[in-house]
């Protein structure tokens, strides 16, 4: 079982890496990181802050775009190209296929983020004339961003298990935006009462919450990130994405593959 999942995962990774479109996106992000350096020169005292803020935000947003982009293709493209058929008639369970795809994509995103992070640290080095101890803190922010990718990927997978590529992409991106403003949604829920309150609160839990995963602002001001937050965020990402992947597998088990 794990052997097959690992097989699918590494094949997914290989396929994604050889797809040149990825490189364009990474390049784009690196350009953006570079431009952040120029941006920061608007006001010197917040140069470092702006570089960090803008770069991490770019990595975050474009990483999500990449996650959605490949994620949607995972199932849809395979069906279209009928590669899926030849896989599923082998002793591979449908759910193993989904799980394998998921891990393959997470692997891809992790590697992507690694390269983007390298570019970012290069920019930071240039701006701060060297690296400081507090820069390590930023790694945590990047880790949290990767956790966001994991969640979005699982959602993209969920949608592409039953929906067309376009709609899956739209839903997944919409959830990313909503997830980023999850705190404001919760604020709004606190203002309401009765049935509306429960409904909105329920929806709030159903939707992904990226509020606590977003520590970009904090690390920009060299504030420490607590261990408790690290643990809780990791746990949240693991549980939530597991739920989404289970959902994807359940749907996929039943799907007629026309």
């Amino acid at each position: 079982m794990t052997r097959r999942i690992a097989c699918i995962a590494s094949n997914t990774f290989r396929e994604a890496v050889r797809d040149r479109v990825l490189y364009n996106l990474i390049l784009f992000v690196l350009l953006l990181v570079g431009s952040a350096v120029l941006f920061g020169q608007i006001s010197l005292e917040i140069e470092r802050i702006v570089v960090i803020n803008l770069s991490l935000t770019s990595i975050s947003v474009f990483g999500v775009v990449i996650a959605i982009f490949i994620g949607i293709q995972l199932v849809s493209k395979e069906i279209e190209k009928k590669t899926l058929y030849t896989v599923l008639v082998r002793p591979v369970r449908r759910w193993e296929f989904i799980v394998g795809k998921f891990f393959g994509l997470v692997e891809t995103l992790a590697v992507n983020t690694f390269f983007m992070a390298l570019g970012f640290y290069a920019a930071l080095f240039y701006v701060s004339r060297g690296l400081h101890k507090s820069d390590l803190n930023i790694l945590l922010a990047i880790y949290f961003i990767v956790l966001q990718f994991v969640i979005i990927t699982s959602l993209a997978l969920l949608f592409s298990s039953f929906s067309t590529p376009i709609f899956s992409a739209i839903f997944a991106f919409a959830l990313f935006v909503i997830g980023t403003f999850a705190d404001d949604l919760k604020n709004f829920a606190a203002l309401t009462e009765g049935a509306t309150h429960w409904l909105i609160t329920g929806v709030g839990y159903l939707l992904p919450n990226f509020g606590s995963l977003n520590v970009i602002g904090a690390v920009a001001h060299d504030q420490p990130v607590s261990l408790a937050l690290f643990v809780h965020n990791s746990l949240y990402a693991a549980l939530y994405s597991c739920a989404a992947v289970c959902g994807a597998a359940l749907i996929f088990e039943r799907r007629n593959l026309k």
Partner: protein, 309 residues
């Protein structure tokens, strides 16, 4: 097929378990997270940068900051923290992005001004904010009203207050009350009736729940202050006549000095202390009062009132 049913069962169970788990963790995290720092809430502290990034959605982004300001203040208000560091930056950012966001100016004028724990205690910042608002919205007479209010109530700068009210009254469509206030502040300055009129105006002209509630509390406090002083004077007069202070208000009722035991705005009877001071029954329910407090109690205490929001 058995194995498919088994798979479905396991997957369904995992789905529900993991989702429930994630909700629990999320809930726990909300309690764990420190109150949003300046950086988190502002995200990017320079309004120039934010403006550039908003690219056409300034109004929306302004609204988001504005909503956060209200929520932030609401949350802090309940927590009774003594610092509202974020309030001014949030309002400043929101109004930079959308200079015509009048509610933000108005909100700021009230809650930036008031001393802690019920406000930020930064009247000068409130003035700066309002002046920015007036520059951007010269036709908004309510901003002049707000400005005059701050000068009068907090900064005790009666000429400046009068000037603000006068300017505002010149705007077509301004509430006639502004003219009256201009005259009064220039003449009197510092008296109870003016204060009452000002708070009454705020209560009537604003629709925001927090602001109205705040104004109501001030009106009650003014009433209490006045009534307590009047009752204490009454007790002293009685003592001068009879040679001893009344034992309680019942005595004054018995001798027809008072028609009935006097009650505070909340409906509870005032208490007459042996030393001639008058006290309210539940001082915690009447914030802002400066008279009628228990002996030794300072006016600026925690607002633990449960009335209103």
């Amino acid at each position: 097929m058995k194995s498919t049913q088994y798979t479905t069962a396991v997957l369904s169970f995992l789905l529900i378990a993991c989702f429930a788990g994630s909700a629990v963790v999320e809930h726990k995290m909300e309690q764990l997270r420190p109150a949003a720092t300046l950086e988190e809430v502002l995200y990017i502290p320079s309004s120039k940068v934010v403006k550039r990034m908003s690219v056409g959605f300034e109004a929306l982004v302004a609204d988001i900051y504005w909503t956060r300001a209200v929520q932030y203040f609401g949350a802090k208000h309940i927590e009774n923290a003594n610092q509202y560091k974020l309030l001014y930056p949030l309002l400043d950012m929101a109004t930079d992005l959308d200079p015509h966001l009048i509610p933000a100016y108005e909100f700021g004028s009230v809650f930036l001004t008031q001393p802690p724990p019920r406000g930020a205690g930064e009247p000068l910042k409130a003035v700066a904010l309002l002046q920015k608002g007036i520059r951007q919205n010269p036709d908004s007479w309510r901003l002049y009203q707000g400005l005059g209010f701050i000068y009068y109530m907090e900064l005790k700068d009666y000429p400046a207050a009068g000037e603000a009210f006068a300017q505002g009254s010149k705007i077509p469509g301004a509430h006639p009350f502004l003219k009256v206030m201009a005259a009064r502040t220039l003449q009197t300055g510092g008296d109870y009736l003016t204060a009452q009129m000002l708070w009454q105006a705020i209560y009537e002209s604003f629709s925001d729940g927090l602001i109205r509630d705040n104004a109501l509390k001030h009106l009650r406090a003014l009433q209490v202050d006045r009534e307590v002083l009047q009752l204490e004077a009454l007790a002293r007069a009685y003592a001068a006549r009879t040679g001893h202070l009344p034992a309680g208000f019942n005595e004054l009722v018995a001798v027809h000095v008072l028609r009935s035991v006097p009650r505070d705005p909340l409906g509870y009877p005032y208490e007459l202390l042996p030393d001639g001071h008058v006290m309210v029954k539940f001082y915690r329910e009447l914030p802002f009062i400066t008279q009628g407090l228990p002996p030794g109690q300072q006016p600026s205490d925690l607002d633990l009132s449960t009335q209103g929001k």
